[in-house]
């Protein structure tokens, strides 16, 4: 197994190496822009393999009474150069624009300074920069006789728009969600935090996809070491493609062999903004609505933004409920197996008699019974996620049959097991983070096996191992179980309980050690009568 993995890695390295050397050869020979427009355009066209969505529009402008052959290059569908063309070509009286600024002799500079009405614009002197810009949706302007070009931001591609996030819904709270465009996403966060300390830096990751990945943090609040660590880990990434933030997550997470996620992700701008304000680092990846947040602690996966929008008592109760559900989801079927096969003395007599009566005639041991039901449920859940929306109803009908009365009537499972599996499944959905929910699902099966062979003793030993493992985890240097272990008394204000806003005076100690004070509020008091 290991050797196979190593071999794969080697092959992978060799592959990227070849790619690199090819690129550097090109660099040496023909990376710089040529003098003639003709050569440049031919090179671009050939470089993109005469792709049909590449648009090259040539025209002539009159700059200081001199005719200049000019071309704009863009990708159809990514860019909308209408504004650019307007400023270059249209005039009130004539069809061709005459530009008169005798003090400026370089026509490119002339265009930049006096003509183009585009905000974001920069020069490009080699094909790499130029093509990358063009492929990102910018429009390149080339003028004959100059080995230089202008790249103007004309990105305008179809965006899904800001819609309600489907994976994390709230009853009370903002309904906007991230979309697939990096810029939209960063803007959504900036709209919430109008602070000059909200800093952002972008890099391209992926040799082929050249995906924009942005780090965002609040300077002064964030732990600079964490930012450095994130930068270092991002710089270490050497991969051909980043299609989703999951790629980044897997490449920079602390422990690949843990079932527990150590990086939080969300498609809610308010959740990300909240994380930034706590001193965490957000990682935006172009092309996905899921934004990463590090460091992520166990307790974060049990919280929702809505905890802070509802009043404190409601928020606290819901959090307690979630922890209860976490335990049901983890231990539900295993506890049932352990108690009914090892510790019958723990069940009240009338209940035991009733369960016994149900189990009469069921051919399988409780463990097999539970496995059948759990696997059936996992199948249904997976089918529910993958299948086309239009046949969703079919699955719910079938689902109600296979994990319902029909299964009981068929004599495959007992009614008590149906209840146990159902409450386990429902409890699992209460865990707010989908990826934490998946971890719990996986671990549940281990517990079921332990329960079937060792009873409650096995569950206990399994729990000890799990807690030890959780204690050993770290997320970007912060202990995963904080503030449970190490126990931080002042951070308990926002852990299982959520105290009222005026009591949340500090930021989490281990996440933002530098800038701890959040606010100075006093508990509201009743006006004097």
């Amino acid at each position: 197994m290991v050797s196979f993995y190593e071999a794969m890695k080697k092959m992978h390295k060799r592959g990227t190496g070849r790619h690199k050397s090819l690129e550097s050869d090109t660099n040496k020979t023909a990376n710089a822009l040529k003098d003639t427009l003709e050569d440049n355009l031919r090179f671009i066209d050939a470089g993109l393999g005469n792709s049909t969505d590449l648009v090259i529009r040539q025209f002539t402008i009159t700059a200081n009474r001199r005719l200049c052959r000019t071309a704009i290059v863009y990708i159809d569908g990514l860019a909308n150069p209408q504004a650019l063309l307007d400023s270059l070509l249209k005039d009130d009286n004539e069809t061709r624009k005459a530009i008169e600024h005798p003090e400026e002799t370089n026509p490119l500079q002339l265009l930049r300074d006096y003509v183009l009405t585009i905000g974001d614009m920069h020069g490009a002197s080699d094909f790499d920069t130029l093509l990358h810009a063009v492929l990102s949706g910018d429009t390149a302007i080339l003028v004959d006789g100059f080995a230089e070009g202008i790249v103007a931001d004309t990105r305008d591609f179809t965006d899904r728009g800001v819609t309600e996030p489907s994976s994390q819904t709230v009853v009370r709270g903002p309904r906007e969600g991230f979309s697939e465009t990096l810029r939209t996403n960063t803007a959504l966060v900036r709209r919430k935090i109008k602070d000059r300390n909200l800093w952002m830096e972008t890099r391209q990751i992926g040799d082929v996809t050249k995906t924009d990945v942005s780090l965002m943090f609040i300077k002064g609040t964030v732990n600079d070491k964490v930012v450095d660590e994130v930068r270092a880990r991002m710089d270490r990434i050497d991969i051909d493609a980043i299609l989703e933030s999951g790629y980044i997550e897997e490449l920079i997470q602390d422990d690949s062999y843990s079932p527990f996620p150590t990086i939080y992700h969300s498609e809610r701008p308010d959740a990300i903004a909240g994380g930034l304000l706590e001193g965490r680092v957000a990682i935006f990846v172009d092309g996905t609505p899921f934004v990463l947040l590090v460091p992520a602690l166990f307790t974060h996966f049990m919280q929702t933004p809505e905890d802070y929008y509802q009043r404190a008592d409601i928020g606290s109760l819901l959090r307690i409920l979630r922890y209860v559900c976490l335990f049901i989801a983890l231990f539900g079927p295993s506890a049932y197996i352990a108690i009914t096969t090892f510790h019958q003395e723990m069940i009240p007599t009338p209940l035991l008699i009733s369960i016994m009566a149900q189990r009469e005639g069921i051919p399988f041991p409780a463990f097999i019974e539970a496995i059948i039901m759990e696997v059936t449920f996992e199948i249904l859940r997976e089918a529910g996620v993958r299948m086309p929306r239009t046949i969703g109803q079919a699955v719910s009908i079938v689902g109600a049959l296979v994990i319902g009365q029909a299964a009981v009537d068929a004599g495959l499972v007992g009614p008590a097991m149906v209840i146990v599996v159902s409450i386990t499944a429902i409890s699992n959905f209460v865990i707010p983070s989908y990826n934490m929910g998946i971890s719990v699902r996986m671990i549940r099966f281990i517990y079921m096996m332990l329960a079937a062979s060792f009873g409650l003793y096995g569950i206990l030993v399994g729990t000890i191992v799990m807690v030890l493992h959780l204690c050993s985890l770290r997320s970007f240097g912060v202990p995963y179980l904080a503030p449970f272990a190490p126990f931080i008394i002042e951070d308990q204000k926002d852990n299982i309980f959520r105290l009222p806003q005026w009591a949340l005076l500090t930021r989490p100690r281990l996440v933002s050690p530098n800038n701890r004070k959040r606010q100075k509020n006093h508990p509201p008091h009743k006006p004097a009568p």
Binding site: T349, I353, M356, A357, I362, L456
Partner: protein
């Protein structure tokens, strides 16, 4: 996780296998729950009966199939443990006794001595010690366990809840579990008592389904009196009044009814709502003495005579009478116990607590000493309320 780590993990998992844990894995459809055991002795051999639950019959919601809700099996054996194991030859599954709620001891065995049969029960880890022990009066334990009860599907449940309810509301029975019984047996200053159960009616018919379909069952199980033990041997019975007296002294009364005679004849009932007790031992001139003081509170529960009760004098009179009645019951119990030379009240322990030197002197012949010990009973009973009405409507009818 490195290869090294993986090896360590596997070793760790294997270490679990060597640790003792819960190895008695039983699927629910491989065990039979016994809710009651009955011990008898005849011809020098124990006879163990077990009441085993027919779970499908009990838990069914859709009418019964006509099968009995429980079956009672029996097996003779040289020892109890042997007989219990031998029971598997008559039952399809292993008998699971963690849910044991009642242990019935036949009167014959009780008269021979119960200590020996209790050892196995206290030793076996599968048994909990919170089951109640009762004595089958004038019959065998096996006969008691054969009776089907109409209201509770499981006869054991009927015995169990009836014992609890009567102890709480009537106060003539005694809930004694295994722990309590063993404490009483080893305590030199206290002898055990157990509740007695009797079959009323036709015992043979009581074991058939007919007993369940009749509005007035052919045979029913009733608690009657307390079995008095001397050491571990049954020596006699207390009647209801004496049993109540015993419970006053032991502080087991939660609530009970005390009937009082009216001055005009007829009856009047007091419902006791609270009773507390105090047993004090003393040594006076080298002789032991016991003081028993009872405080009780009661309400007037029923008045069947025309008596004006809304006066302080009347209440004081009734309180006086109530004191007398309670004292009478207590003294009856003491007299009876002295007759059996069986210190069921724990007077010996009271002496022990008061003066252990004197107790050490008289410990060896305490049973004789007990028969002579003077017991001073003081009762302080108060009437609190008269119920929803004050005067009985009987009075307004102008006397009947």
């Amino acid at each position: 996780m490195s290869v090294h780590g993986a090896i360590r993990f596997v070793l760790l998992c294997m270490a679990f296998l060597t640790v003792t844990g819960c190895w008695n894995r039983n699927e629910l459809n491989e065990i039979s729950i016994a809710t009651a055991f009955g011990f008898d002795k005849n011809a020098g051999r124990y006879n163990v009966s077990a009441q085993i639950i027919n779970a499908t019959e009990i838990a069914t919601n859709k009418g019964s199939s006509g099968r009995a809700p429980v079956i009672t099996v029996q097996m003779p054996g040289r020892t109890i443990f042997e007989a219990v194991r031998a029971l598997t030859t008559t039952t399809p599954r292993k008998i699971y006794s963690s849910h044991l709620r009642i242990l019935v001891i036949g009167e014959d065995l009780a008269r021979e001595g119960i200590a020996k049969v209790l050892d196995g029960l206290s030793r076996d880890h599968e048994l909990r010690t919170d089951f109640y022990i009762i004595v089958a009066r004038n019959t065998t334990a096996n006969q008691v366990l054969r009776i089907l009860t109409p209201l509770e599907r499981i006869p054991t449940d009927k015995m169990y809840s009836s014992l609890e309810a009567s102890q709480r509301n009537w106060g003539v029975t005694a809930k004694v579990d295994l722990h309590q019984l063993i404490y009483d047996l080893v305590d030199k200053g206290k002898d055990p008592v157990l509740a007695g159960i009797r079959i009323e009616g036709n015992a043979r018919r009581g074991g058939t389904r007919m007993n369940l379909s009749n509005a007035s069952p052919q045979a029913i199980l009733t608690y009657e009196g307390l079995a008095v033990f001397h050491k571990d041997k049954l020596v006699g019975w207390l009647n209801d009044k004496q049993s109540k007296g015993y419970n006053y002294i032991r502080g087991n009364i939660k609530s009970t009814i005390v009937p009082l005679p009216c001055p005009t004849g007829d009856d009047l009932d007091i419902e006791l709502i609270h009773a507390s007790h105090k047993i004090k031992g003393r040594i006076v001139d080298g002789k032991p003495e016991i003081n028993v003081s009872i405080r009780a509170e009661g309400n007037i529960g029923e008045v069947e005579c025309d008596m004006k009760i809304a006066t302080n004098e009347a209440i004081a009179l009734l309180e006086q009478e109530l004191n007398e009645q309670i004292k009478d019951a207590i003294e009856a119990a003491i007299t009876r116990a002295k007759y059996y030379k069986s210190d069921i009240f724990g007077f010996g322990s009271a002496i022990h607590r008061a003066n252990f030197k004197a107790w050490n002197r008289m410990e060896s012949d305490w049973e004789d000493e007990f028969a002579r010990v003077p017991v001073h009973v003081t009762v302080n009973a108060k009437l609190r309320r008269t119920g929803s009405v004050v005067e009985s409507f009987l009075e307004r009818m102008g006397g009947s």
